[in-house]
């Protein structure tokens, strides 16, 4: 039983156990209030989070647990302040080494049989964030057994640290949260009462995230996988569909997961930070990274870019720092030249954009053209195309394969799309709709589903609001939740196939 968010076991077992258990605890405890409830709820969440991770395999679980123990001890040692700098350096190096070993062991042929522990890229960064924050004095770790010094965003008991690392709604694919973001909410857990409205809004967000993944991303994946499998034979339009299709697929898959995690978390009154804010509406690469995987950008800014000097050591050093960050981001995402090229592409454009904005002449021109809608539109389109092209290196098995697809996509347009590509992105429901509407005999009926799914995905990607914002602002009414229920049921019965989140391998 692997309780991915888009699985029967999560929806019918984990989620009910989580929500019922979390709200039932105060009743079970009885008249106890305040700290006892908080403490029991905390340990309940730790237990369910550890059980969640353990379902994916004991080997990964023991590696995860060992990492928690080692980093916890390091955190305690750093808090003592003696030799804190050295201990922090050792801790960071250990975590990076640990991550690098699992990510690159197979690629560099140290051993082809070493599988990467699930979510290692995410929880390792959480550990690094924690250790550095302890070193900087932003967190003070309480020694086990010491008298508690009261609730504060800065004080981490062992259970706080444990829950911060293991909290399962963000464990597998982020967001990469900061300790203080969670601590204040952990401290208030004792007073959290069941709030029907908050619960419904969480359920709303979870359902929409599930739909993004199960109904849209997984459907587009069929066409993308097919396109890559027959690459030498794809037409121009096929290549364009594959390129933009993957761009949408990746966004829906990743942001869908984050929406589900945020929705689940909201059901028990804990808010996770936003991780995606309509990134494809960005008017430039810098803005793209302010909207895409926001917590990763935040991590790299705080723990890499700024320590390297940020923009405080002159232009040349700033550009170098930017490039270093993106190359390391590429390496973090995966082992292989494709990820390095992807990182380089983003770094290069970021440097170029930064250089242009540093120029005084450009700053003046920018101020004058900043609000021109046509210029914004052009910038958005160009950014979207560039990012989509870069994603091909993310998806392809090799640099050569990525270049092969891009060569076709940027060649002479030819408006012919392979029917096999279109039929690889099919929803049976659409077949029934076409049958009812007597459109199934139309010679282009085989293309309808793919274009429909791409169109809906594009609308979501370029909409004025994110699903997260809609979940917070929509009016609670019976009609809305009637449709959400239909969508929920539709998603649940669509779980029957096999699917994995794209960022799982990270």
């Amino acid at each position: 039983m692997k309780p991915l968010f888009n699985s029967y076991s999560f929806i019918f077992v984990f989620l009910p156990v989580l929500t019922v258990g979390f709200y039932l605890i105060p009743t079970v405890i009885g008249v106890l209030r305040g700290s006892a409830v908080r403490s029991v709820r905390k340990w309940f969440l730790i237990a369910i989070s550890l059980a969640f991770y353990a379902c994916f395999g004991w080997r990964d679980f023991f590696i995860f647990a060992a990492g928690i123990l080692i980093n916890g001890l390091l955190g305690c040692a750093i808090s003592r302040r003696t030799g804190a700098k050295a201990i922090t350096a050792v801790g960071v190096i250990l975590n990076i080494g640990f991550l690098a070993f699992f990510k690159y062991a197979g690629y560099l042929s140290f051993s082809s049989s070493i599988a990467m522990p699930l979510a290692v890229s995410f929880y390792t960064f959480q550990q690094i964030s924690f250790l550095i924050d302890v070193y900087r004095g932003e967190i003070r770790m309480e020694m086990p057994g010491a008298a508690r010094s009261g609730m504060s965003d800065q004080v981490a008991s062992f259970s706080d640290y444990l829950l911060y690392i293991t909290y399962f709604p963000k464990l597998l694919e982020g967001p990469i949260v900061r300790f203080h973001e969670m601590k204040s909410q952990f401290d208030r857990m004792g007073e959290t009462r069941f709030d029907g409205e908050r619960f419904l809004r969480g359920l709303f967000l979870f359902t929409l995230g599930l739909a993004k993944k199960v109904l849209l991303a997984d459907t587009i994946a069929g066409a993308v996988d097919y396109g890559f499998s027959v690459l030498p034979h794809v037409t121009w339009l096929d290549a364009v569909v594959v390129m933009f299709g993957y761009t949408l697929q990746l966004y829906l898959d990743f942001s869908g997961y984050c929406d589900m995690g945020a929705g689940v978390s909201r059901m028990i009154g804990i808010e996770l930070p936003e991780n995606f804010h309509l990134p494809y509406k960005a008017r430039g690469i810098a803005e793209f990274w302010d909207r895409w995987h926001m917590t990763l950008s935040r991590f790299f800014t705080k723990y890499l870019y700024i320590p390297l000097g940020g923009n405080r050591r002159g232009r040349a050093r700033t550009y170098l720092n930017i490039m270093i960050v993106f190359l390391i981001s590429g390496i973090w995402h995966g082992a292989g030249w494709t990820f390095l090229v992807w990182g380089f592409m983003h770094g290069a454009l970021s440097v170029v954009q930064r250089a242009l904005s540093d120029s005084r002449k450009e700053r003046k021109k920018k101020a004058e053209s900043a609000r021109h809608p046509l210029w914004d539109f052009i910038c958005t389109v160009l950014t979207f195309v560039y990012v989509s092209a870069a994603w091909m290196f993310f998806r392809a098995d090799s640099v050569k394969q990525a270049l092969e697809l891009l060569k076709i996509a940027f060649s002479k347009p030819w408006l012919r799309c392979s029917i096999r590509l279109a039929k690889s992105a099919q929803l049976d429901e659409v077949w029934y709709a076409l049958k009812v509407l007597h459109l199934d005999s139309w010679k282009y009926s085989g293309y309808i589903c793919m274009w429909l799914v791409l169109a809906v995905s594009a609308v979501i990607a370029f909409a004025p609001y994110t699903f997260r914002e809609i979940s917070e602002k929509h009016k609670i009414c019976g009609l809305t939740y009637f449709f959400i229920a239909i969508l929920f049921a539709w998603c649940v019965i669509s779980l029957g196939g096999v699917s994995t989140f794209l960022y799982f391998k990270f």
Partner: protein, 388 residues
């Protein structure tokens, strides 16, 4: 990074997620308790009704035959070996089974009825490993099943592909829907709430009304004439890499013995009421071309002899060897690729099961394998494979 994020004096980014919570908590979206209760009730009621409806339809029709025998008159679509074989084995009416790899998919059970008077059910399992065959036998021999309560299993016709007998004894070819393999209803949710089951196997048959003919179930009926022939076969044929070092003669003995004992012979011995008919399918001559290039001809021959003679020691076993039909295996008009033959060959084999032609008796494997060896040794592969 295009800019440094504003960092407050405690080191936290200026943006705080609590501000988004505050922004969300405007009076515009605060709902009354009544609205919330109504919305929750609508959600729960609608979702439950839809999911229960889906489950009930699936149970009533039961397209994978997991709970009951097929409904009379319902045009069932049967095309999913992994999901439907267990249910068919447990809930259909038959006295014989045909199982094994894709070498069995083109059998027509009417040929078996004609040749031997048996009511056979085809439970093919493409790419089957020995454990896959064992799984099918487990389903077929389930004494609590409707099928076995109705009649004993009198015959089992099983294709033997020697190459897979070096697989791990617990290894299966494909991941299996284990919720259909056990009898626990607690894990049936993936079957009951499954869009593919509902749309492809419950509703679509109702719309299209094209029931699968179980006599030819799983057959490659899409393969029309142009999918057979030398030109077609050779265009898709990939010769193996030449291996310099010859495989030792007993290279496959140990693993083969383990698979035979655990996954085949245990059933043969436990069920003396069943006559087991094992056959070695007639791969084309190109199969032997690759065996020679891979330099394990003697090891392969030894494996055939080991399997054949071991099986023939049992009283309720018959063994057929079809690979030395020289006219057939050297004529690629009979093949769609280097190993898959036309349905006409399947029909012939079914007739042979009845007539006894090509049957091997104890001690007879050596002779048929010598004949096969002579066919391979004397065949002019170079001319045969030269471009026309």
């Amino acid at each position: 990074m295009s800019k440094d994020q504003t960092i407050d004096k405690s080191g936290h980014p200026a943006e705080d997620i609590r501000s988004s919570q505050a922004a969300g908590a405007s009076s515009d979206r605060e709902a009354s308790s009544a609205q919330v209760c109504k919305a929750a009730a609508v959600f729960a009621g609608t979702a439950a009704a839809l999911l229960i409806l889906c489950a009930v339809l699936t149970v009533i029709v039961d397209p994978f035959f997991h709970y009951h025998a097929p409904l009379k008159g319902f045009p069932y679509v049967v095309d999913n070996q992994l999901s439907q074989n267990p249910g068919m084995a447990r809930n259909m009416t038959y006295d014989s089974i045909i199982t094994g790899s894709s070498m069995t998919v083109n059998f027509n059970t009417n040929d078996f009825r004609e040749a031997m008077g048996v009511n056979a059910l085809k439970l093919s399992s493409n790419g089957a490993y020995p454990k896959d065959i064992a799984n099918v036998l487990d389903f077929a021999y389930d004494e609590h099943s409707r099928a076995r309560k109705a009649s004993p299993l009198t015959n089992a016709f099983i294709a033997i592909d020697v190459a897979v007998f070096t697989a791990g004894p617990e290894e299966v070819k494909y991941p299996q829907p284990t919720y259909l393999y056990d009898k626990s209803p607690l894990n049936d949710i993936p079957y009951l709430l499954n869009k593919d089951v509902l749309l492809q196997y419950v509703l679509r048959p109702i719309v299209e009304r094209e029931a699968t003919d179980l006599a030819t179930v799983y057959a490659t009926t899409w393969q029309t004439e142009e999918y057979f022939g030398k030109d077609w076969v050779l265009q898709g044929f990939v010769p193996s890499e030449v291996r310099e070092k010859e495989e030792p003669k007993d290279a496959y003995r140990e693993k083969t013995e383990i698979n035979l004992e655990r996954n085949i012979l245990s059933y043969v011995r436990q069920h003396p009421e069943t006559e087991f008919t094992f056959f070695f399918p007639p791969y084309s001559i190109l199969y032997w071309y690759n065996v020679e290039r891979e330099n394990h001809l003697e090891a392969t021959m030894a494996q055939y002899e080991q399997i054949g003679e071991t099986l023939l020691k049992e009283d309720n076993v018959r063994v057929f060897y079809f690979q030395d039909m020289e006219d057939v295996v050297t004529d690629l008009a009979n093949y769609s690729d280097y190993e898959h033959y036309s349905p006409a060959i399947n029909s012939y084999m079914a007739a042979c099961f009845g007539s006894g032609e090509h049957e091997v008796h104890p001690g007879g494997m050596h002779e048929v394998l010598d004949h096969m060896r002579s066919i391979v040794d004397s065949f002019d592969f170079e001319t045969f494979l030269a471009p026309q």
